[in-house]
Every structure is written in structure tokens, then in C-alpha cells.
Amino acid sequence: MKIPFFGTKSNHRLRNTFFLIASLWTILIVALTGATYRQANTSALDAALSNTRNMFFRDMAYRRWATGHGGVYVPVTPETPPNPYLAGVPERDITTPSGRKLTLMNPAYMTRQVHELGREQYGLRGHITSLRPIRPENAPDEWEKEALLAFEQGEKEVSSLQQLGQETYFRLMRPMITESACVKCHAVHGYKVGDIRGGISISAPWAPYRQALNEHLRTLILAYGVIWAIGLLGLLLGWNRIYGYLSEIKQTGEALQVSLNEKELLFRELFHRTKNNMQVITGFLNLQSEGIADEKVQEMFKKTTGRIKAMALVHEKLYQAKDLSRIDLKEYIEELAGMIMESHDGRPGSIALQLELESVFTTIDAAVPCGLILNELISNAVKHAFPGERSGWVRIVLRQQADGEIEIGVEDNGVGLPEGLDIRKGGSLGLESVVQLAEHQLRGQVEVRRGGGARFRIRFSDLHYKARMG
């Protein structure tokens, strides 16, 4: 019998398992680090988006303020000349009673100036632009143009990271929709309420965000690195223990296997020797009987050696068996019946042997009594059922019921049992043995029928033998 798992080379397996676990741990930590960084990155983008969007809305608020006033008058300076694109607007330029020159600033002019200030002072770039700019310098760049086209398609907002010169910026753009207040000045340009007049893009430098992310990443790597190291250390420490334990188990398993093999060998040896010893006994009996002339006495010796042979055959079968604890009664009966028929050869009439045998496995505790019973009954049938030249058959039946009960039958179509013979009283030693073996040793039942020959049925269960091993 092979004990599972330890029959194979398990050293490699143990080592490979260790590396597998270590690799999985590393992959896990790396994945976690990556995922956490990704998350931080997304957060930064969200923050930038939020900021730039708010800047846009602030811009729009101021624009509406200016629009609400219809424009705002500011002092004329070199930086703030009158707007040439407002040339046709009445009262574009006015003078205060004290002689200060003021000019009208439209919302776009205001927005542009504020953007320029913002760019100088904060690095933020705001750009008011349109696909059909009134002031050519307000033309959109590539990215803005694409965004404006998207707005025409219904897009509400466009944002992404873009390179502007050497730097990366987070750019956001939203459309300016013509409102009723806008129409007053801009209808002349062909805009109606609801049209997209253009858009404002806000570009915030990405550098500060990136710096924060890098620091975050550094911290992450440190923290996860520590966790990884601790995990690996724990694995190493624990692994030694586990390995030691597993090695012990493996050794025990191997030792057990060796022990089991030895035990099996021993059992076979034992069965073999027992069978041989029985043969020695038989030998002595044969030798002893040689010198005896009396046929009746010789017959007694022959009976005795026949019984011993029946027992020896059980041991022979056990020795040969794959499973040392059980033998197949079918094979046993086939051989026993053959032996008995052979030893009673040379009769005038012929006896046919009919075997109706199922494969039935049972322990040595049950097999030996069965063997003795069968030996008795078959020998009796062969010797006494067909006197003179009478011919007939002897049938042996072997089957097992669903509940495990074993049934053995020996029947013949010979002269039958003598009238008034009670197998439990009187009768021969042989029949008394059969009853005692079947009822007391096998704890079973004997049934005898007499019409048209003799019929014996033995029924027993071998389950109560499990407790002790033969």
C-alpha cells in the first residue's frame, strides 16, 4: 500500500512553494503601490480640474458684471488704449469735467487684461478666444480650436494635460454661450442667443502638482517597502518552522511506509509458514497411516488430512492475496472442490461438479470455519450421496446479500440424508462440527432440506469479525 504525497520527491515542491509565496507577496505590494499612486494621480487631476473650473466661473462672474454695466469706463493709459474694435460705438471715449480721458472697456477687453495680469503674477494662463475672433490676436491655438469645435458638437467642457513650450499645463476650456445681454453688442457679428461665441481656456502649471505627487510616491515606496520587507522576513522565519515541520511529517510518512511494507512481508511469511507447518502435520499423518492395514483407520487418517488441507488452503490463498486481510471465497471454493473431487477419483459412477459462485471477500476468521464446513459437506456428498454406480451432480452456491450476509449452499441429487437423522444430535462428528462451526463460531444459521437429495444452506455475517485482525 502506498502512502500518498510522501512517495514522491517533495523537497523541490517545498522550495518552489516558498518562492511562489514570496513572488506573490512582492507582486501584491508592487500592485498596491501602483494602485495607490494611481489614485493620488487621479486626485491631483481632479484638484486641478476643480481649480481651473472655478477660475473659469470666476471669470464668467466678472464678465457678467461688466456686461451688466454695459461695459466699464477706465482711464486711458498706454497699456489701456481705446479699443479699436469699438470704433463705431457711440461715446466710446469720454472726458471727465476735470479733463481726464476715459474709454469704454468691453467684457472681453477686461477679461484679456485680467488674464495677462494673472499670467505675469501667478503663472496662470487664461485665454479668451473664438473660432471667429473679433480681435485676430485672440485666435485659438490647436488644442483650443479642437475644444471649440467640440463645443459646437455639444461638448460642455474639455480638459487635459498639455505641453506649452517646455512646461506641462493642466488646461481646461469651457464655451461662452450668447446670452440676451450679449446680443446688444454682438448681434452685429451674427450671434443669436444660445450660440457659442467662443470659449475661455484656463491653463494651470502642472509642476506643483507633480512635485507633490513625487513626494507622495517617495513616501509610498518607503512605507510599502517596509511592509514588504516585514512580510518577507515573517515568511522566512515562518517558513523555516513550516519546512521543519513538513520535513518531520515527510520522514514519519516514509518511515511508516517502510514499516507497512515490512509488516506486509511479515504477514505473508507467516501465512506461508503456517501453511507449511500444516503440510508437515499432514506429512506425519500420512507417514503414520502407511503402516496401517485397517481400511477404516486409514479412512480416518484421510479425513483428518483432508480437513487440515482445507485449512492450509485458506493460508495459501491469504499468502497469495493482494489484500492480506481478505480472501475471495469463490477462488477458494473452486480450488477446494477440485481437490476433493480429485482425491475421490476412480469411482464407477460420475459426479458432475456445478459451481454457482459470486465473488465474496471475507476475513481469515470467517474463511477457516467456512473451509472446514465446505470440506465436510462436499466430501460427504461425494462419498455418500452416490453409492454404487449412481451418477449425479453436486452443486455449490456462494452469494452475498445486499446487507453483507454471506450464503453458502451445498446440494446434491443423490440418495439424501438418512431418515430421522437430526444433525444436531447423533449424526457424525463431521455434521456436528458443521453445526457448531456455523452456529457458534460463525454466529450464523444452518438449514437442511431433504427431498430429492441433500441440501445444506449456511447463512452468516462476517461483520462482527472486523474488531480483531485475524
Partner: protein
């Protein structure tokens, strides 16, 4: 005098029949044969034997010693134990039981007869010495091969 009635408790059928034959030849009566401890207790109740031949290793749930304990609570019957192998544990267990003896198998009929008569005599002696302290305990059956009280 009434014939002595002996109960044989033995699960090997052929051995049981063999003992029965030997005992009958010596003139004893033999009860129904028992192959388990439980059967033995039943038969003691029914047939009240004068002596018990008890195989130690039996089929069924209980062994010869367990059966003896039960039987002794019913009646003080002398018991001759039989065993296929001898060790200190068995010797100790047997000597702890009053009115007991031990025979090692295979048992010669002559040894069996000796052990039985000693057991029955010992009993008679204790009966006639009643009340006289320990006196002579039920004697130990000796076979050529065993020595159970030392």
C-alpha cells in the same frame, strides 16, 4: 452423587467439540456450549454448572475476564481459564481471581482432568471449612507449562 456439570466457553468450534468429547469420556456432564461471554452468562443463569472452562479470548464484546466478573456476581463457581499464549498480564489477572486456574493451549486431556479434579476438591475443602478464615483457597490447577500464582 450427581454428575458434575461443566460449562465450556470457547469460540473455536472444533476445540469446543474436542473438550466436550474429552469431558464426557471422563464422566462429566456438559452444558450447552457457549462461544461468547454473553452466552456464557446466560447459560450460567439457566443451567447452573458446577465448573466453567473459560477461554480468555472470545468473540463478542467481552472477554473471559469480563464474563467471569459477571458470573461471580451470580454464583461462586470455580473457573479454569484457557489461553493460547502466556504473559505476565494474564497471569496477574488470573491470580487476582479467587477459585481460578490457568491452562495453556494445546491442552492435554490428562492435564484437563487433573485441573478439574483439583478445582472441585478445593471447593469441597472450602465448603467444609466454612467460616474458618482463608484456610485453603480454591486450589490452583497446574499444567506442565504454567505456574500462575508466582
Amino acid at each position: 452423587m450427581e454428575k458434575v456439570k461443566i460449562l465450556i466457553v470457547e469460540d473455536e468450534a472444533i476445540s469446543a467439540i474436542s473438550f466436550k468429547g474429552a469431558l464426557k469420556r471422563y464422566g462429566y456432564k456438559v452444558c450447552k456450549l457457549a462461544s461468547t461471554g454473553e452466552d456464557a452468562i446466560e447459560i450460567v443463569r439457566e443451567e447452573k454448572p458446577d465448573l466453567i472452562l473459560m477461554d480468555i479470548l472470545l468473540a463478542g464484546e467481552i472477554d473471559g475476564f469480563d464474563a467471569t466478573r459477571e458470573i461471580r456476581s451470580l454464583a461462586d463457581i470455580p473457573i479454569i481459564f484457557m489461553t493460547g499464549y502466556m504473559d505476565d498480564e494474564i497471569k496477574m489477572k488470573v491470580s487476582a481471581i479467587e477459585g481460578s486456574a490457568l491452562l495453556l493451549k494445546p491442552i492435554e486431556p490428562a492435564d484437563l482432568q487433573l485441573a478439574i479434579s483439583e478445582a472441585l476438591q478445593g471447593r469441597k475443602k472450602t465448603l467444609s471449612h466454612d467460616g474458618a478464615g482463608s484456610g485453603e483457597k480454591a486450589s490452583e490447577g497446574k499444567s506442565r507449562d504454567t505456574d500462575c500464582r508466582r
